[in-house]
Amino acid sequence: MFPLSSTTDSTTEAPRDEIRDTEIARVIAALDGAVLDSLVKPNDDMWIRVSADAWVATGNTLKSLGYSYFCFLSAIDWMPSPFGKGEDDPTDPPKERDTAVKQGYTGGSTRFQVLARVMQPFSSLGINIKVDVDDAAMAIDSWSGVYAGANWHERETHEMFGIGFNGHPDLRNMYLPTDFEGHPLRKDFPLLARIVKPWPGIVDVEPLPGDDDEEEGEAS
């Protein structure tokens, strides 16, 4: 009664998402070569990575394609933290840590990436746009002329990551004192509370028996 073979076939086939597939094709065509990489997760979300030269043009194009709602703009520091999870005993000698930069979706080649998200209202289709920030220049063009809401987000990103935004009207600090040194959300900025005193919560995350076969862990 139930054709098992055909059902297994349909489940092994990767799920498709017609709406997002056609949408990303439309975006890539409109951006005309600026897209370096793209990704669609079916029934979830869309990602594109664009070249830094085309950053403002990308914003303008997306806006004209109906992505009129500005969601957020921020950055990601892909360098693994030299302090780990901040759970080291400060009296121990510093640990050797993996320093290889591991990029996320749509790849990339630099330590810092700026990440923005815009949405089409009503359809709730959103697109995440990433752009590599050149390590030497540490600046990209500003979106504040494209989406007015980007103004404050860029100020925040500038303060937290030290990424400049060319053409931004006013990159003053939002949160920190003007003479504050360092960029707190960079991975190499230590979380001082964890440096001066060992994290007492470490006892909570000690490996439990059965850590190896956690896949079959029981429901709590």
Partner: protein
């Protein structure tokens, strides 16, 4: 003929010169007014610097950051279950609603889905936090305009809702109740009947506020046509929630997004208002409280049986990937962009809070308004300081 024309012209020039002289003599000097950080008319520690010309604002800039707690940095040294205790404190009036999108993002990365009973209860608690949050707004609104009575009504009736949240979760303000894969516990006995009673009280509260405040002539004249935000400006500033719907944008993430929550299983309306002024924003919020009580009532009737927790490992490791989940929180769109590198804690979390975007329109919006309207406009935009600074 020509003589008359010359005389007219001369008179005109003379009058212009006289005007200029008067302007020089009575030169109106600009003045900078500092409102806050500690001021009774600001919610918390937001400081507004306004440059005035007479009674008119020519430039205004909110200065946030007095409550920055660095949650994005702190999430990087926490495990996933620990993060909910942090994000609770972003919008502290509707704290349960802050946990939900983060948990949904982690569940999305792990490929776990909460059982339908947990989804229902989550939605109920989400809407209860919306009611608790927005009912305080409705009372506070009166205080901003000099009406003292509504705030007592609001605090009284919000207490009923907080009691419900406390009964279910153990915490009045910071439930920390949502877990990856479901909820900490099931609902307590008697919760459903009690909630029905409270929802009736809240509907009465809405009627009272509508009578007391929204029908009031002073309230109307202070809010109608003040602080108008057009649709396209609201969108490009990323305004969300009731502020966006009050500008006539019919967009609600509860309806327009498919999330593993129970909103699409009940019958309710998205409230919009075409005006985009302060009155519209307040009115939309009032109606949304009513809709929320309807949502809760219907969900109480249809809670499915079953467990409230899915099968998840004891030690939660989230596979590599990136996920974005946002929900329609009491203040607007609240979302988390979670980057996981296969650890027990997130690699990076970007917290997109509603008030940050909602308040970033203030420099644009306050240009040209009169000083007393600053307070009305800020009150109607409705922000929570913790939600701006994170």
């Amino acid at each position: 003929m020509s003589l008359l024309g010359d005389r007219q012209q001369l008179a005109y020039i003379a009058s212009q010169a006289a005007d200029a002289r008067v302007n020089v003599e009575l030169e109106t000097e600009g003045m900078t007014l500092n409102i806050g950080p500690q001021h009774p008319a600001t919610h918390g520690t937001l400081r507004i610097i306004a440059r005035l010309d007479g009674e008119q604002v020519i430039w205004a800039e909110p200065s946030a950051g007095y409550m920055h707690r660095g949650y994005e940095k702190l999430t990087e040294v926490r495990t996933y279950p620990q993060v909910t205790a942090l994000v609770n404190r972003i919008d502290w009036l509707g704290s349960f609603a802050n946990e939900v999108p983060f948990i949904l993002a982690a569940e999305k990365l792990m490929g776990v889905e909460a059982p339908s009973r947990a989804q229902h209860i989550r939605t109920i608690l989400f809407e209860l936090s919306r009611i608790a949050n927005v009912s305080l707004f409705l009372g506070d609104l009166g205080v901003q305009l000099g009406a003292v009575t509504p705030v007592f009504f609001a605090f009284r009736d919000r207490e009923y809702v907080l009691n419900l949240i406390e009964a279910a979760t153990g915490g009045r303000f910071h439930p920390n109740f949502d877990r990856i894969g479901g909820l900490k516990e099931d609902l307590p006995a008697g919760f459903i009947d009690e909630t029905r009673n409270v929802m009736k009280k809240l509907r009465t509260f809405c009627d009272q506020i509508e009578d007391l405040l929204f029908g009031n002539e002073i309230f109307q004249s202070r809010t109608r046509g003040i602080g108008v935000i057009p649709k396209d400006v609201a969108l490009q500033y990323g305004m969300s929630g009731a502020n966006l719907r009050a500008s006539g944008v019919d967009w609600d993430l509860r309806r327009d997004q498919s999330l593993p929550m129970a909103w699409n299983k009940v019958d309710w309306k998205v409230i919009t208002h075409p005006d985009g002024d302060s009155f519209a924003r307040c009115w939309v919020r009032l109606q949304e409280v009513r809709e929320s009580t309807r949502i809760v009532d219907q969900l109480l009737d249809t809670i499915p049986a079953g467990p409230v927790m899915a099968k998840v490992p004891k030690i939660i490791k989230v596979p590599e990937g990136e996920a974005w989940v946002s929900t329609e929180n009491p203040l607007g769109e609240m979302g988390y962009y979670v980057v996981s590198q296969g650890d027990m804690g997130p690699f990076r979390v970007k917290i997109r809070s509603a008030s940050f975007n909602n308040i970033s329109i203030v420099p644009w919006l306050l240009k040209g308004v009169y000083v007393p309207d600053i307070i009305t406009i800020l009150a109607s935009l409705y922000f929570i300081l913790g939600d701006i600074d994170r």
